[in-house]
């Protein structure tokens, strides 16, 4: 790549980030953001815990959506990253006696490395096989952790270093971390999609054959996506377990993480950025409304997902778009439809 091209690419990516921040400002408008930041002073611990769940699950759904909607990689085993990220956080913090928030970036790095390593076997599979393959990956890791004594085996580990914080601070800092993770993932996602990587991904999504023929490095794009999405999920998982204070293999490597992410994305709309936002709101609204119904809630959720995939594969956002076409994040690129008038052939 020539120096000019590199500079142009950096410029393009820089502009993309700038643009993303500009646009995200619309949604994360200062008022809302300020209100959310100030929450620890007027909200109770229950509310904070709920929002930690909302923000972290939103980030995980964004990650799943990135993979599936923009990379064509349906990863049923996304919870692999959640387990890896949370265990990385807990073990680094416990072993090195590090402040959990200092350990968090290292946990992100660990997750990224796990993504790189796992890509080797996983990318040998495609489509549905990749989907279930990632699930095998999560399962094997779960069992490995379950049987590892120094990770606490079945009982898991507590987050020892967090006890040095008083309850108010702990709740507030975890809450703010989750807000940062949620908002940061959104900004990162939008920036990525508006960058050259995003364009590459979209071209691969539209037609991999054509993209490859045009020189788009499909494998690199997919790998980058896998690492980014995995890191987002891992970090979100780590923050989530900061909130629960104990990490166990069955909980952190649980399929229900991915299941929730899938429901959110399917309900909201795959392959859009607005979709996961809508989906998260709908998901939690439904959860709070139907919590008492036990299994029937999941039966309803599952049926809804089935019906949506068959009837409205674009999710709620695409349904809404039919009435109010908006592109909140300036990501969609519309090709002008050429009206062709071939001349009549004289016979």
């Amino acid at each position: 790549m020539t120096g000019r091209a590199v500079a142009a690419e950096r410029g393009a990516n820089g502009r993309a980030l700038h643009g993303a921040l500009k646009v995200s400002r619309l949604v994360l408008s200062p008022v809302i953001l300020a209100g959310l930041i100030a929450l620890p002073w007027y909200g109770d611990f229950g509310m904070q815990r709920l929002l930690v769940e909302v923000f972290t699950l939103f980030a995980i759904a964004l990650a799943w959506n990135l993979l599936a909607g923009y990379g064509g990689l349906v990863a049923i085993g996304l919870h692999f990253f959640i387990g890896v990220g949370s265990y990385a956080l807990f073990s680094i913090s416990n072993v090195l006696h590090l402040n959990p928030w200092v350990a968090l970036p290292f946990a992100t790095v660990c997750t990224a490395v796990a993504a790189l390593i796992s890509a080797w076997p996983m990318f040998r599979l495609a489509g549905a096989y990749f989907a279930v393959g990632t699930w095998v990956l999560a399962e094997i890791t779960r069992i490995a952790v379950l049987n590892t004594g120094w990770l606490g085996a079945g009982a898991g580990m507590p987050l020892e270093m967090i006890s040095s914080f008083d309850r108010w601070s702990r709740n507030a800092y975890v809450y703010w971390s989750s807000l940062a993770v949620g908002a940061g993932s959104l900004v990162l996602t939008v920036a990525m999609l508006r960058s050259r990587l995003g364009l590459a991904l979209k071209s691969v999504r539209d037609s991999e054959v054509a993209a490859l023929a045009s020189g788009v490095p499909a494998i690199h794009a997919k790998l980058a996506l896998w690492v980014i999405a995995g890191s987002i999920a891992g970090t979100a998982g780590a923050v989530s377990y900061m909130s629960t204070l104990q990490v166990t293999p069955d909980a952190s490597f649980s399929l229900s993480w991915t299941a929730s992410a899938i429901f959110i994305v399917v309900l909201g709309g795959i392959g859009t950025v607005e979709g996961p936002i809508v989906g998260t709101l709908v998901y939690f609204a439904l959860r709070e409304a139907f919590a008492g119904f036990g299994s029937w809630y999941f039966i309803g959720l599952g049926s809804l997902a089935v019906v949506m995939m068959i009837g409205a594969p674009g999710g709620a956002w695409s349904l809404a778009q039919r009435f109010y076409p908006i592109d909140l994040f300036g990501i969609r690129r519309r090709m002008p439809v050429a009206k062709t008038h071939p001349e009549a052939i004289r016979s």
Binding site: W120, A131, V132, V136, I140, N147, F298, V306, M309, I310
Partner: protein, 288 residues
């Protein structure tokens, strides 16, 4: 502790059961190019149906097959016709996500109806009987399961090779659009194929139910073993799935020798290692 030979033989017999789990998956994959995420849950559903029939009618577990097989055929037929036909052949997501949603629905329905407790089907005259062959102790149930598995694979092989439906399956598996061109009616045909896949799975479900205590959430693990058998064997290869299952069975029991909780772990590990070495599976689609 059991001898190594005994572990190997029992591994092969267990593997034959896993192969039978995978048979239904292999059929849908081959003909409709779809992984049914709910496959494992359907096995468990079959186990519950068998349990209900066995207890309700007071019959032996194997006799319950008379009911379970047609019921599961009908379930498969209905499933394909009402839901899955809408998503066949479209993008990668739709079949995966529809069957994922279905998986959640089935698991929770089973939980509602049968509670989360584990249960099993008692068939002492099979499960408690064993033979001593040359110093190796082998149970009747594993032998029976392996025999049923081989039999069903052979039957499927014969159907695929010699009957009209078999020819159509091969044609659709080769080239779906040209298959339509020669008039193969997707919708009804696919429904029959899924019905057959589930009917074969019914046998796996009953044998599994006798062998292992099951609960509503036992589905996903069955799916993973089925999937591993199919992928290891090589996609599109029927007998490949059989050998894939054998490999997983042996790997699991050898792993359990090392440490009793690590059976499935070794199965997954062997799967990943073979995948790294030979991504197309051990026996890729038989070249014609």
């Amino acid at each position: 502790m059991a001898t190594l030979v005994e572990t190997l033989i029992n591994g092969l017999l267990l593997g034959a059961l896993y192969a039978l789990f995978g048979l239904g998956l292999s059929i849908s994959l081959g003909v409709m190019r779809m992984i049914n995420i709910a496959h494992g849950d359907l096995i468990v559903a079959g186990a519950y149906i068998a349990s209900v029939v066995t207890q309700g009618a007071g019959v032996h577990a194997l006799t319950s097959l008379i009911v379970v097989v047609p019921v599961m055929f009908a379930m498969g037929w209905l499933l394909q016709r009402t839901l899955l036909n809408h998503v066949v052949g479209s993008n990668v997501f739709a079949p995966l996500l529809v069957t994922f949603g279905l998986s959640v629905v089935i698991q929770n329905l089973l939980q509602e109806v049968f509670t989360a407790d584990t249960r099993s089907i008692r068939a002492e005259n099979i499960s408690q009987v064993g033979f001593d062959i040359g110093g190796v102790s082998i149970g009747l149930l594993p032998l029976l399961s392996a025999g049923v598995s081989v039999g069903l694979f052979a039957l499927t092989h014969a159907i695929v090779g010699r009957t009209h439906y078999g020819r159509q399956s091969r044609a659709v598996a080769d080239d779906p659009s040209t298959a339509r061109l020669v008039g193969i009616d997707d919708k009804n045909f696919f429904a029959i194929v899924t019905g057959f896949a589930l009917a074969a799975t019914a046998f796996a479900a009953v044998l599994y139910a006798i062998r292992t205590p099951f609960s509503p959430t036992a589905g996903p693990e069955r799916l993973l073993y089925s999937f591993e058998a199919v992928v290891l064997g090589g996609l599109g290869n029927l007998w490949g799935t059989f050998f894939g299952g054998l490999i997983i069975g042996v790997a699991q029991l050898l792993g359990a020798r090392v440490s009793s909780g690590l059976g499935p772990f070794f199965g997954h590990l062997v799967f990943l290692v073979i995948l790294l070495a030979r991504p197309q599976g051990l026996f890729a689609k038989a070249a014609r």
